[in-house]
């Protein structure tokens, strides 16, 4: 079985009614800034697919490896688009589950963040033998979307994200 589409924010590329209401609810339409620590708090409780340990405790995700930058720096505050880059450090350099971990981080962030965020999840340089291959897969909108339609994989991801649902409410 797959996760119903409403359970996550699947698409950073399409308009989302929830973000519209979110923006219009706010009288001065001010976008609440989100910092690196908040991003870390969103993803650190994700559990490793193999161990009963969190990505935070295994140092797979680390605060200094989270970067928030404006997507259009030349437009200044007229564009609310923000690029979020998360570099993950696999526990071993040939970890076969690096893609699944990366996908879990990406799904978690797209669930939790408003769609003005463009999320890039990559392997930290020099920490994995097939980093380039994994990075390309994680950056491919169609491969990610297809993965989320895969019931078996979605089951694994749901399990990884169980701790987050409780922690982040």
């Amino acid at each position: 079985s797959t996760v119903p589409p409403s359970a996550y924010l699947p698409d950073p590329f399409s308009p989302s009614s929830s973000s519209d209401s979110e923006l219009s609810d706010d009288d001065d339409a001010e976008i609440e800034p989100i910092d690196e620590q908040e991003i870390y708090d969103l993803i650190s409780p994700i559990s490793d697919p193999e161990h009963p340990l969190t990505l935070g405790s295994l140092s797979v995700v680390n605060l200094p490896d989270i970067f928030l930058t404006p997507t259009f720096p030349e437009k200044g505050s007229s564009s609310p688009l923000t690029t979020l880059t998360v570099l993950i450090t696999p526990t071993i350099t040939h970890c076969s589950l690096a893609t699944v971990i990366g996908l879990g981080v990406r799904v978690r962030l797209e669930q939790a963040l408003p769609p003005r965020f463009r999320v890039d999840v990559r392997i930290k340089e020099g920490t994995h033998s097939t980093a380039e291959q994994v990075n390309r897969q994680l950056g491919d909108k169609e491969r990610v979307a297809a993965a989320l339609e895969n019931g078996t994989l979605m089951g694994v991801l749901r399990k990884m994200l169980e701790g987050c649902e409780n922690g982040a409410g």
Binding site: P5, P10, P15, L81, T83, R118, E142, A146
Partner: protein
């Protein structure tokens, strides 16, 4: 950015509603009728009217996963045929008689076309019976099975007799319609080393272009009896997401100064010899325009001895469009007037126009319009 060009603004004309509750992967305008098909991850295709901007029908029940792509068959009269490609690895063919395609009263009611509504009321068409056949309008004709994984793109040849499909399974298939709702596989081409993201037919030749995760664009044509790769366009540094052909008629753009008339003539001649150009866009944030190097007569007489060389295409990169996107560029299109539009992960829609560059031999492309649309609530 200082510029001598005025940047026209693009404004939103309408929102097509009701929309799909989940990701809309692609929209395809009908070749002749004011209709638009959108395919979605909710496994449906929605057909909207481009005169009333209302939903006319929803095609459901054919695919088990996301419908990634669809294409209208060209050159039909009285009937519309739509091909759909899905992440479930199958391709569907759907048919519909055009006279059923007028807006149904219930849509007219919520639409902008009050005249049509009044007419419908006057004719006594406003009733329950109008809704009866709503889902029956589109008839499922045939499913084309063969791909092993997600189908990414489908394209009809200009004549409409050939259908090209491509997939994450790295293959490009060509199907021929041999009878009513009867299709035969005439080629399976597997030279790409990664997902094939897009296929597009040359507007006047049976020449197919494909774009891939392996960073290459390939060209395919039939040589004697076999379809095969006749060219590889290399240059992109990452996934090539989309390829698009220029229209058949070369458009002459902008005014030239007196001293440049010869150059313009040269350009027109070269364009006629090369034929329509090909454009490609990529994850590497570039859009490239490719031009065929026409074969010289001398070469052709030599090639008649070496048979295998006769179908080889010689293409060069003519120009890269000015950089305007900050995230992967997913889609490009060439308008009939020669303009180019692109969009990508950054939510920007960019329009380009080709212009004569002062004092240069080659016309270069100039970005003239840059408008970020409210893809995610951006103002």
């Amino acid at each position: 950015m200082p510029s001598v060009f005025s940047f026209p603004r693009i404004s939103q004309l309408a929102t097509l509603e009701p929309s799909s509750p989940s990701r809309a992967w692609l929209t395809a305008p009908h070749p002749t009728l004011p209709l638009l098909a959108t395919c979605s991850s909710d496994k449906t295709v929605r057909i909207y009217s481009l005169t009333t901007f209302t939903l006319l029908s929803t095609i459901t029940g054919g695919h088990k996963r996301s419908i990634r792509t669809c294409a209208w068959k060209p050159n039909l009269k009285g009937e519309s045929v739509l091909a759909t490609g899905s992440f479930d690895a199958s391709v569907g063919i759907w048919r519909h008689y055009d006279n059923d395609m007028s807006p149904k009263p219930k849509e007219v009611l919520s639409g902008l076309d009050f005249d049509a509504r009044d007419k419908a009321i006057a004719n006594g068409e406003m009733g329950e019976n109008a809704e009866e056949d709503d889902e029956e309008e589109w008839r499922f004709a045939i499913v084309l099975d063969g791909h092993e994984s997600e189908v990414k793109s489908v394209a009809w040849s200009t004549g409409g007799n050939l259908l090209a499909t491509c997939s994450r399974d790295k293959s490009v298939w060509i199907w021929e319609e041999v009878g009513e709702d009867d299709y035969e596989t005439i080629a399976v081409m597997q030279e790409h080393e990664g997902d094939v993201k897009c296929v597009a037919w040359h507007p006047e030749e049976e020449l197919l272009a494909s774009a891939s995760y392996d960073d290459d664009v390939r060209l395919w044509r039939e040589d004697v009896d076999d379809w095969g790769c006749c060219g590889v366009l290399r240059g992109h540094g990452s996934t090539v997401w989309c390829v698009a052909w220029e229209g058949v008629v070369p458009e002459i753009f902008g005014d030239v100064e007196d001293g440049q008339k010869d150059l313009k003539e040269m350009w027109v001649k070269r364009r006629e010899a090369s034929g329509p150009r090909l454009m490609s866009c990529s994850d590497d944030l570039s859009i490239r325009v490719w031009r065929r190097r026409p074969k010289e007569k001398v070469q052709q007489s030599r090639l008649s001895i070496i048979r295998s060389g006769s179908s080889e295409e010689d293409w060069i990169e003519e120009v890269q469009l000015p950089k305007a996107h900050s995230r992967p560029i997913y889609a490009i299109a060439w308008s009939k007037s020669g303009r180019v539009v692109s969009t990508g992960g950054d939510g920007a829609i960019v329009v380009y126009e080709e212009r004569w560059k002062k004092g240069s031999i080659d016309p270069k492309s100039k970005k003239t319009g840059d408008q970020t649309n409210g893809v995610d609530g951006e103002q």
